[in-house]
């Protein structure tokens, strides 16, 4: 019986390893192309890199101001993530309360989700301009400081917390802000993790808005840098893929470092009664 169970376990693990390998293959291909100058359309494709080197990374570092782009992207992403967690939690807490016009407010939020960002980009630009935030970090982060999808993520998580806990905290003398911070947020780690991941990905990948509001190359972010790099280095696939690896590396690194917390946060919400 035991060998039978062990055998099925081996099979399961072998299947998982196979699926993982298939899923990681595109990443491997990007990495392999980054350390060679191989044509990605070459046939038959080579699985192993031939005479790998790291000079494509050196090219990326020096041909464009990569450290500056990285810093800009990091600053904007930190601003977006922090403000999303704070503002969305506050908005979501308000939406869990009953107040006149709540239904209209929810409908307004939901209908706003239907409007694509491209349709509102001119008013967004004009507002940012009037506020004097063009070509600034705050301006770059401005449209993503709070996102409706993430407000609803928080709202759903807050509504799952028993009202008696909130009432008990209020009887103990906690202010509304402290109720969010001390009671609701610790019980909504899955929502916090979702907010952090989504806000980070959206701001890290944003292209159109930074393209419109930046005036100087020193304020550009990594996606704009990638477009600029493409226009300069049209013949070097290796350098382009090296750029992609360097853009991906920080987020993968942060994810691997925080993997345990992310998984715990995402699964605790799913298994709680």
């Amino acid at each position: 019986m035991i060998p039978m169970r062990r055998h099925s376990q081996y099979m399961r693990h072998a299947a998982l390893v196979g699926v993982s390998a298939i899923m990681l293959l595109p990443f491997y291909w990007v990495l392999k192309t980054a350390v060679t100058n191989e044509n990605i359309y070459a046939y038959p494709p080579r699985l192993l890199p031939e005479s790998p080197h790291l000079f494509n990374f050196v090219d990326v570092w020096y041909f464009i101001p990569f450290p500056r782009y990285l810093l800009n992207s990091l600053v904007v992403s930190v601003l977006v993530v922090a403000s999303n967690v704070v503002f969305n939690a506050m908005a979501a807490y308000a939406l869990t309360k009953n107040f006149p016009g709540k239904r209209a407010m929810l409908l307004l939020f939901l209908s706003c989700m239907l409007i694509p960002f491209q349709a509102t980009i001119i008013p967004a630009y004009l507002i940012t301009s009037k506020l004097g935030l063009l070509n600034s970090y705050l301006g770059l982060a401005f449209p993503l400081l709070s996102t409706i999808v993430c407000i609803f993520v928080f709202k759903a998580a807050f509504e799952a917390v028993p009202q008696s806990l909130v009432d008990a905290a209020r009887i103990d003398g906690l202010s509304e802000g402290r109720i969010i911070l001390r009671v609701l947020m610790p019980l909504s780690t899955a929502a916090v993790a979702t907010n952090v991941v989504l806000a980070f990905i959206w701001s890290w990948n944003a292209f159109l808005w930074p393209l419109i509001i930046t005036r100087e190359p020193t304020m550009q972010t990594l996606p704009l840098g990638l477009a600029r790099f493409l226009s300069y280095m049209e013949d070097t696939t290796g350098a382009l893929y090296a750029f992609a690896v360097m853009v991906l590396a920080p987020s993968i690194f942060v994810f691997l470092m925080a993997q345990k917390e992310f998984i715990r946060g995402l699964t605790s919400g799913a298994t709680k009664g």
């Binding site: 050196v58 300069y232 280095m233 049209e234 013949d235 470092m257």
Partner: protein, 125 residues
């Protein structure tokens, strides 16, 4: 020892910071922009008084940056290089042009001595 010191959130950034500091120290000690090498003919004899051209990569093209001449032992030396992607070529009236050598550096202005000499396809008379 406090437990937080052994956290991966402390150890990994410290290791990265240590690596970055070491690398920057190495760069600071080796960024004189010096390029040295030799020029030989097809039989391996040094070629004196050959013109050596240093070309610098500028995105997709290579532009000539400096020229120098080899000494009686076929040695040459460039100073003040500020690029990381180069090409070197030698030429004389009698031997024509040598192969063009691609030189990739790990950082701008890295001091380097070519391990293999620039070689002409023809022999000296």
């Amino acid at each position: 020892m406090p437990r937080w010191i052994m956290s991966r959130w402390v150890i990994v950034p410290l290791v990265i910071a240590g690596f970055a500091l070491t690398w920057n120290g190495y760069v600071a000690l080796n960024d004189g922009g010096r390029i040295e090498g030799r020029v030989v003919d097809a039989s391996g004899r040094p070629v004196p008084d050959a013109t050596v051209i240093l070309l610098e990569r500028h995105f997709v093209v290579h532009n000539e940056r400096q020229r120098t001449r080899t000494d009686s032992e076929g040695r040459f030396r460039f100073a003040g290089n500020g690029n990381h992607s180069l090409q070197l070529e030698a030429e004389t009236d009698s031997l024509g042009r040598s192969e063009r050598r691609i030189v990739r550096l790990w950082f701008r202005a890295q001091n380097i001595t070519l391990s293999e000499p620039l070689r002409f396809n023809a022999k000296l008379p």
